[in-house]
């Protein structure tokens, strides 16, 4: 089988210690846009379900891995329905998808977490890891041998072209985390901790339309917690397109959430993943829905907005036309489901 490259592992016992270790190792000065992904010397790992396979394929080759297994909370905390919920970044995807409060109030998240990969990987993979998931691409998620034969790509070797579109000025790797559109639709924020302290970031602000520098936070900043606002009045759902009933990353992921005020939509959010380098909160879809009765015309307008927002490239399974079309089908289905249930 493929072997892991040699590396050293640090296992800090708290988030504070992890932040300190990352500062001492100089993790924050790393810029994958300059070094390429394999050039990053210090990486964090939580569940490891994505990091380790990527290391075996030499997409990543850190000298030091900082394990967050002991540093991160795994708790899901929620009080009454009027208050929100917080999820420790170390909570496994299995535990998030099975949690009764998540299931009853944040259905889209429970569904999305339950649709990630396989049961075994959900038992190991964490919500924090999924939020920070590396972007994916058919030219990147390949072995060292394969990429040598191809001649490498921008994401590993910034001086080389993007193989997806050789004229592209940026890397076109795809945001592929299932939980992120669900969290966006639910209005999540994340807590980010570093040696300089702690701050709260709107989840939508965490991402950038760039397959290499896909996260806006520094590489010594640890996502420690995901916070969800009160869910009162909200209904949400998540739909995932993948080739098989298990195992696969999304090639379209769509989350929708609406809050009704009587027969009218008081607020709505529609979010996408796997159709661009960053997850997309489709504002135009929300606008089309707000104030409507969630009637077919409003749903159609929202679906059209989602269709327009999706900009898939030919670097995942499936085709561009299929994925774009499915975005609008999913938007319609998700919103009808929220209307009818």
């Amino acid at each position: 089988m493929l072997r892991l490259p040699r590396f050293r592992m640090e296992i800090p016992r708290s988030a504070d210690e992890a932040a300190r270790v990352l500062r001492e190792l100089g993790a924050g000065t790393q810029d994958p846009g300059v070094s390429g992904m394999p050039g990053m010397k210090v990486l964090m790992v939580a569940g490891g379900t994505d990091v380790y396979p990527n290391m075996k394929r030499r997409q990543l080759a850190p000298e030091v891995l900082v394990s967050l297994r002991r540093a991160l909370s795994r708790d899901v905390r929620a009080d009454g329905p009027a208050s929100g919920a917080t999820i420790g970044a170390g909570a496994t995807l299995s535990s998030v998808s099975a949690h009764p409060v998540v299931r009853s109030r944040y259905a889209a998240l429970a569904m999305a977490a339950g649709l990630v990969s396989t049961p075994q990987l959900r038992n190991m993979g964490t919500i924090g890891g999924n939020v920070c998931l590396d972007t994916r691409c058919n030219w990147y998620d390949e072995s060292g041998f394969w990429r040598t034969a191809e001649g490498f790509c921008m994401k590993t070797h910034p001086s080389v072209v993007c193989r997806v579109a050789t004229s592209s000025p940026r890397c076109l790797a795809v945001a592929s985390a299932d939980t992120v559109p669900a969290l966006l639709a639910l209005g999540a924020t994340v807590t980010v901790r570093s040696a300089q302290g702690e701050r709260t970031v709107d989840l939508g602000e965490l991402y950038r339309e760039d397959g290499i520098r896909y996260l806006t936070i520094r590489r010594d900043e640890i996502v420690t917690e995901v916070a969800l606002p009160p869910a009162e009045g909200w209904r949400s759902t998540y739909l995932k397109l993948r080739d098989r009933g298990s195992f696969d990353f999304p090639i379209v992921g769509l989350a929708a959430a609406v809050r009704m005020d009587g027969a009218r939509v008081a607020d709505a959010r529609v979010a996408l993943t796997a159709v661009a380098s960053r997850p997309i909160l489709v504002d135009a879809a929300a606008k089309a829905l707000r104030g409507s009765r969630l009637d077919d015309a409003a749903i159609e307008a929202a679906a059209e907005a989602a269709f327009k927002a999706a900009r898939p490239m030919d670097n995942t399974s499936g085709t561009i036309a299929q994925r774009k079309r499915t975005v609008s089908v999913f938007a319609t289905r998700a919103l009808r489901e929220l209307r009818d249930n």
Partner: protein, 795 residues
């Protein structure tokens, strides 16, 4: 009550515990003292000349013990003696991305892995040939310079039987369609693995996950240059084969040579990506099928042309080419038949045999076209097929002998089980049902190298405690071949399968069997064991008859007892009878062998591929629903009936039907071994879309028994045939659901959606594309290189 005490009983397989719990000792489980770990260096070029290889830096690396290259094993090899075009490691040229170039043995896997980057290979890149069309026309680029055929043609065959021209002239209508079957790979759970150990006494042992220990034995002798008498090949239990472990492979030779050089055991275990490069899977085949039919649907003539994309080497390609034509005649009445087959070389991993070997692709084309013919005639597609069946005990137009023939019963069974006529053409849009029939061989009629010896040999020993040991060169690849041999021996000797030990796949311990390919083990090895055990049975019966004072023909054996049929209380245990027989006759060991009969084929060049002692038959019905908005095809249910002659062990037959149906389902819906510029697009189990347990449809397997006159207890094959009808059945069901004919595989959501949006009635090839711009591949290559260089300069 059954006349048998073991045959036909729903008993657990003899090796089931090891397979279920993982305690079976696979090749990679073998650990020997001082063992080294090997790894192959593979070509990053699709087509290139090797100008220089320098392994000195690797050899100097700490922990590296030995390195070898193609120059160390310059002898040509390959599974088919007539078309040997491979080397253990590339000599002079590499012909696909992943072609093995050198091998390293080191003290551990990490060191072997690291050492690969220290082997300096200088290549001169050559233009790659990547499509069938390029291969047919490019005289200027030759993948095998000395192939002796034009351009990159590996083999072309032309056969004609009956009055083809007349048949088309008298036809009421001629159907003329092109089809394309995409290449797929086997993806066995166990990746290929081999351990070689060369001892101080000059003897070499190779443990390897191979389906063909005997053929490998021959090639090792040839390539390594040591006599076969000093080589022992042990086929370890294969964690799945499906045809993918039926060739001699680079890592097997490299393990042997490096062990001979270092006098230490050497292990190679391929990683998953390497298995995609080793391949030998289903050929992509472009097909042109013309069928003439009379006004009431009788077939008047068929002309079938196949173009096989063979990849870089021969493998079984000569047989594959013939197989695309040979078995078209054994299902339905064909009075006249013409076949033209061409297999070409391309710069991609070599294709070879995958479950259904060469018959799966034409079967897809034929059964899809029959669906169309039935529709035009206004006939139910099952009723139409039943009307044109090839009869049992007949000869086909191409001279193949047919004995037992259960396709009619299979169609009847699936019709009854699914209530097909009540559904077909009558379901709401988006729901569909489709049917197809097919056939397969119970072992190839000829061995791959010409000889007059048995295809299968076995010996059976009875010990003094009543235990029975069967020795046979078959390879247990998870299909249950050990169990089949145990069932046959147990039935003959009146013991239970748990009393039988099977020693298989060992060239030193067991008589030769040609291997676990072409669905030959049940029929051929089963007959060999039946004969061997039958000879001991006679001795045991005679000894017991003498002791009991009754005539031998009144003696029966069952449930570990030997007794008087007229008075079952009168008898003895099998062990007691065995002691009597050994006292009288000496040691109880016997041999048996099997060779298919002679007169089962016509007499013409090319008649050697297609004949078998008995054909299996099968019919499948698929029920699908198509999501009209997303194009997703859900196969709700597959119902398949299979004529296996007699089920020696019904759960094993059902398991084979189900496994084959699932494999066919994956090929119909999702799987594709595809390339971009010679580089495999998806060499991983994440991107190569093998169905998961969440995807596979509900399955009903129905056993049809026709009791073949020559099979062991009437049995025929069950391992491959059941794959064949599933794919066209699904395509026909999709047509029933949405009115779109899929004349190509796989039927993906993207293609379905595209067809629905563009209101297409057909998705499939139009023919051989007019000769594409020959320099296109090179220009593409240059374009990306130029862009890369430009980018480098800019940054």
């Amino acid at each position: 009550m059954s006349e048998f005490s073991v045959v036909g009983k729903r008993l657990p397989k003899v090796n089931v515990w090891g397979h279920l719990t993982g305690t079976a000792r696979y090749a990679d489980d073998i650990q020997l003292p001082r063992m080294l770990y090997g790894r192959l260096l593979r070509s990053p070029h699709a087509h290139a000349r090797i100008k220089r290889i320098d392994a000195s830096r690797a050899l100097a690396h700490d922990g590296v013990v030995a390195v070898c290259t193609g120059a160390d094993m310059p002898e040509r090899m390959g599974i088919m003696p007539s078309t040997q075009d491979e080397y253990a490691l590339a000599v002079d040229k590499v012909r696909y991305i992943g072609d093995p170039v050198a091998a390293v043995a080191a003290v551990d896997e990490d060191t072997a892995y690291d050492a690969l980057s220290l082997i300096d290979v200088e290549y001169e890149p050559l233009e790659p040939i990547l499509t069938i069309e390029e291969a047919l026309t490019r005289e200027d680029v030759r993948i095998h310079e000395d192939s002796g055929r034009p351009a990159n043609v590996f083999k072309d065959v032309h056969l004609e039987f009956g009055d083809v021209e007349g048949g088309f002239q008298t036809a009421h209508k001629v159907y003329d369609n092109w089809y394309f079957f995409e290449g797929t790979t086997h993806a066995p759970m166990e990746t290929h693995s081999a351990v070689a150990s060369y001892d101080g006494d000059g003897k070499l042992t190779l443990w390897t996950s191979t389906q063909v220990p005997h053929y490998l034995h021959r090639e090792l002798e040839k390539v390594l240059g040591i006599p076969r008498s000093r080589i022992r090949v042990i086929a370890t239990p294969n964690g799945g084969g499906f045809g993918g472990k039926s060739d001699p492979f680079s890592h097997e030779f490299a393990a042997c040579l490096l062990s001979m050089r270092t006098k230490r055991p050497v292990k190679f275990t391929l990683d998953r990506e390497e298995v995609f490069y080793a391949h030998r899977g289903r050929h992509p085949v472009l097909m042109h099928l013309r069928t003439g039919v009379s006004a009431d649907g009788d077939i008047t003539a068929v002309h079938f042309q196949s173009y096989l994309d063979g990849g870089a080497y021969a493998s079984y390609g000569i047989a594959t080419t013939y197989y695309t034509g040979a078995l078209m005649t054994v299902t339905y009445k064909l009075p006249a038949y013409k076949f033209d087959g061409v297999r070409v070389y391309t710069n991609k991993p070599a294709c070879g045999p995958k479950r259904g070997h060469g018959t799966t692709q034409p079967r897809f084309a034929f059964e899809c076209q029959l669906d169309q013919i039935a529709e035009d005639l206004g006939l139910d597609p099952i009723a139409y097929r039943e009307r044109i069946l090839q009869p049992a005990n007949s000869r086909t137009v191409n001279g193949l002998r047919i004995t037992s023939m259960g396709l009619g019963q299979c169609l009847e069974e699936v019709k009854r089980s699914t209530r097909f006529p009540e559904k077909h053409g009558q379901l709401p849009r988006g729901k569909g049902i489709g049917v197809a029939g097919s056939a397969y061989i119970s072992g190839a009629g000829l061995p791959i190298y010409w000889n007059e010896m048995p295809h299968s040999g076995a010996s059976v020993k009875v010990d003094r405690g009543g235990g029975v040991t069967v020795y046979c060169g078959t390879s247990e690849i998870g299909q249950g071949s050990d169990n089949v041999l145990a069932v046959v021996a147990a039935e003959q000797l009146g013991v239970l399968t748990e009393d039988v030990h099977v020693v298989s796949g060992d060239t030193s311990l067991a008589p030769v069997d040609l291997g676990s390919y072409s669905s030959r083990v049940t029929f051929m090895a089963g007959n060999a064991v039946r004969q061997a055990a039958g000879r001991l049975r006679t001795l045991v019966v005679e000894a017991a008859a003498a002791k009991l004072g009754v005539p031998a023909d009144r003696i029966a054996l069952a449930q570990r007892r030997v007794y008087d049929l007229a008075d079952p209380a009168k008898g003895m245990t099998f062990a007691e009878a065995a002691v009597l027989a050994e006292s009288k006759n000496g040691t109880l060991v016997s041999v048996g062998s099997y060779k298919p009969p002679k007169d089962i084929s016509g007499d013409y060049k090319g008649s050697g591929v297609g004949p078998t002692a008995a054909y299996s038959y099968q019919a499948a019905v698929a029920e699908v629903s198509v999501d009209l908005e997303t194009g997703i095809v859900t196969v709700e249910r597959i119902t398949e009936a299979h004529d296996c002659g007699r089920a020696l062990n019904p759960p094993a037959v059902e398991g084979q039907i189900e496994g084959a149906a699932y494999m066919g389902y994956g090929e119909a819906i999702a799987e594709e071994q595809v390339f971009r510029g010679g580089l495999h697009k998806k060499p991983s189990l994440l991107e190569y879309k093998l169905p998961t347990s969440m995807d596979t449809p509900e399955m009903k397997a129905i056993i049809v028994e026709t009791i073949d006159p020559e099979g062991p207890f009437g049995a025929k094959e069950a391992g491959e045939g059941p794959l064949n009808p599933v794919i066209p059945a699904i395509a026909n069901a999709v047509y029933d659901a949405i009115g779109v004919r899929f004349d190509e595989t796989p039927i993906t959501p993207a293609k379905v959606l595209d067809a629905l949006q563009k209101n297409r009635s057909r998705v499939g090839p139009e023919g051989l594309s007019s000769q594409r711009d020959p320099k296109a591949a090179m220009r593409r290559l240059h374009a990306t290189t130029d862009a890369r260089e430009k980018k480098k300069v800019m940054s």
